[in-house]
């Protein structure tokens, strides 16, 4: 190897490594503090490695003396409910948009493109008033309802179904399959990679969401993961940072583990927002 290239490689690693340290620092700090005994958090001497393992008491406190398990369970319920309705409504509609000719198809697709420009913060106010008048605030329904509609999912699945070979659909029709069967037994299984990527995207977004839950939830029984960690921090006035960091690790842990396990679907989900 020429010396110039070697220097280039070393320089590029140095830059990447320095950036990686900054990127990873909060995660390392979070995990180290979550197993650090309280006397060391406030200790005058700064030593990054804890002198004794206090993980059991910190995680125990985060789970036992707080609303965190409930918030995480709520996160599963809300993310699952949202995803189920999104897939059940978006897949057939996207198939229709891509492969069937029916009245109003152009208009519907126009509305989907329009919807891509509207974030939740825009319809939030009228939806809140409607939910308040129907006495539905602080319910699972209120948490999930605005996200039943996924224009992003509609757009994504439509793009996918457009590339599906027409001959297979025609062959299925000749075999006597109805359109309903074709959607769920042929088109949807073929779209599994897109569905997986979309699912990852949807679950991450709603597990992490703060804006809408902050608006509609008032009781701790309906707290979502983001609200759970916020409430835990505000309750910890004594500043038990070990338990607080343990709580943060518990809330963000499932997303990080999920990412490490399904990295490809994650990355595909991100790139599909732009490149597809």
């Amino acid at each position: 190897m020429r010396p110039g290239r070697l220097i280039g490689r070393i320089a590029s690693h140095a830059v990447l490594l320095a950036g990686a340290v900054v990127m990873a620092a909060p995660f390392v700090w979070m995990l180290l503090t979550s197993i650090r005994p309280p006397e060391e958090v406030f200790g005058a001497v700064f030593d990054p490695i804890p002198s004794r393992f206090a993980g059991v008491e910190n995680y125990g406190q985060a789970l036992g003396a707080s609303n965190l398990p409930r918030a995480m369970l709520n996160g599963v319920i809300v993310c699952g409910g949202i995803l189920a309705v999104q897939l059940l409504t978006a897949i057939p509609a996207a198939y229709a948009l891509a492969r069937l000719s029916f009245r109003g198809r152009g208009l519907l697709f126009g509305l989907v493109l329009f919807g891509l420009c509207i974030p939740i913060q825009v319809p939030a106010l009228p939806l809140y008033i409607a939910l308040a008048n129907l006495r539905l605030l602080d319910t699972y329904f209120a948490l999930m309802m605005p996200f039943f509609l996924t224009v992003f999912g509609l757009f994504l699945f439509r793009q996918f179904f457009r590339t599906y070979p027409e001959e297979i659909l025609q062959a299925a029709r000749l075999d006597g399959m109805g359109e309903f069967e074709i959607v769920w037994r042929i088109a949807a299984p073929a779209a599994l990679p897109a569905i997986a990527a979309f699912s990852v995207f949807s679950v991450v977004a709603h597990w992490n969401d703060l804006y809408w839950p902050l608006i509609v939830v008032t009781s701790s029984e309906r707290a979502t993961p983001a609200l759970g960690i916020l409430a835990f921090r505000d309750a910890e006035t004594g500043g038990n940072y070990g338990a607080l960091m343990a709580a943060a690790a518990l809330i963000t842990g499932p997303m990080i583990v999920g990412f490490l396990v399904a990295r490809r679907a994650f990355v595909r989900g991100i790139t599909m927002t732009g490149v597809r």
Binding site: M30, A93, F102, L108, L113, G178, F266, G274
Partner: protein
């Protein structure tokens, strides 16, 4: 699609099923998108407060009051300042990291994972970690800055630094996302183009970058810029967790005061007018984004 005679049995079956499949999605669009938008615009011309008995039409008074309100003006200024901080670093930083990571072979995955971690993690949880890290007496950042000669700065409680600190956290969260998008764009560039450029005399990396990489990444760069702007424009979570708009209103952003007016003070009419302004900003950006997206669909 194979041509089908209009009025044929198959065409009629298709039209029927198409309508049936589209109906639930259309219903959701009407209930969750169109109706609220109409209500929002109407609401912005009233003095409605949640629970109020009488509602008056007040025309454009909400808009006039808003643009005269120093809090609104400040939030607009803070939001633009935040975007101006975040955008260049998140876009060009993301591009730079992608270029470096793309050239790595054995270590590529490790770097990809580390830079992407902040994107998938729960921002509210990680913001509490940042708060602890930035804590003036308990966190590691303040002593580190003091050792580097910057003095002891309480970054989140100093009006001069709070917004910039939030912007740094915003960049920390966004850069991996942009890296992934740029990596996808980079791997779509055919290798032959670099060879052709080398034959044309582009011998150095910088040459090849300017002649091949940069022009071919154009659509990706455009898309990343627009999405980063929208994301930065909607900064909210870190404000709620870390500063609540303070100190001295230096981190009050558009979305945060919109949240306060609408859902804490329940001045619905006024908040609706604010939302319409937000909508105008975001729609302008998103129309740009949709056009980029459409271009890609056509040429894909």
């Amino acid at each position: 699609m194979s041509p089908r005679a209009p009025g044929s049995p198959q065409a009629r079956t298709e039209a029927r099923w198409g309508a049936i499949f589209a109906a639930p999605a259309l219903l959701l669009i009407v209930v969750i998108l169109l109706a609220p938008l109409a209500v929002l615009v109407a609401l912005s011309a009233t003095d409605y407060r949640l629970g109020a008995i009488a509602v008056r039409m007040i025309g454009l008074d909400n808009y006039a009051a808003m643009f005269a309100d120093p809090v609104f003006q400040r939030s607009l200024r803070n939001t633009f300042l935040y975007v101006a901080f975040v955008l260049p670093v998140a876009v060009f930083g993301g591009l730079g990291v992608a270029l470096l990571v793309h050239a790595r072979i054995r270590t590529r995955t490790i770097y990809e994972v580390i830079y992407f971690l902040p994107v998938t993690s729960t921002l509210v949880a990680m913001a509490t970690v940042w708060q602890f890290m930035l804590h003036p007496t308990l966190g590691p950042v303040t002593p580190l800055l003091a050792d580097l000669g910057f003095g002891r700065i309480d970054l989140l409680n100093d009006p001069d630094f709070a917004l910039g600190t939030l912007a740094l956290i915003g960049i920390w969260q966004l850069i991996g996302f942009n890296m992934v998008l740029f990596l996808a764009g980079l791997s779509a560039i055919p290798r032959e183009l670099y060879e052709a450029a080398a034959l044309d005399g582009a011998r150095y990396g910088a040459d090849r970058f300017l002649r091949v990489t940069w022009p071919l990444l154009g659509p990706t760069t455009m898309f990343v810029t627009v999405t980063s702007t929208v994301t930065a424009f909607k900064v909210f979570d870190t404000v709620v967790v870390l500063t609540r708009g303070g100190p001295l209103g230096s981190t009050e952003t558009l979305l945060y005061i919109l949240y306060l007016e609408g859902f804490q003070y329940f001045r619905m009419g006024y908040a609706a007018a604010m939302t319409v302004v937000l909508l105008v900003f975001l729609a302008g950006l998103s129309i740009l984004q949709a056009r980029v997206l459409e271009r890609k669909v056509h040429y894909a």
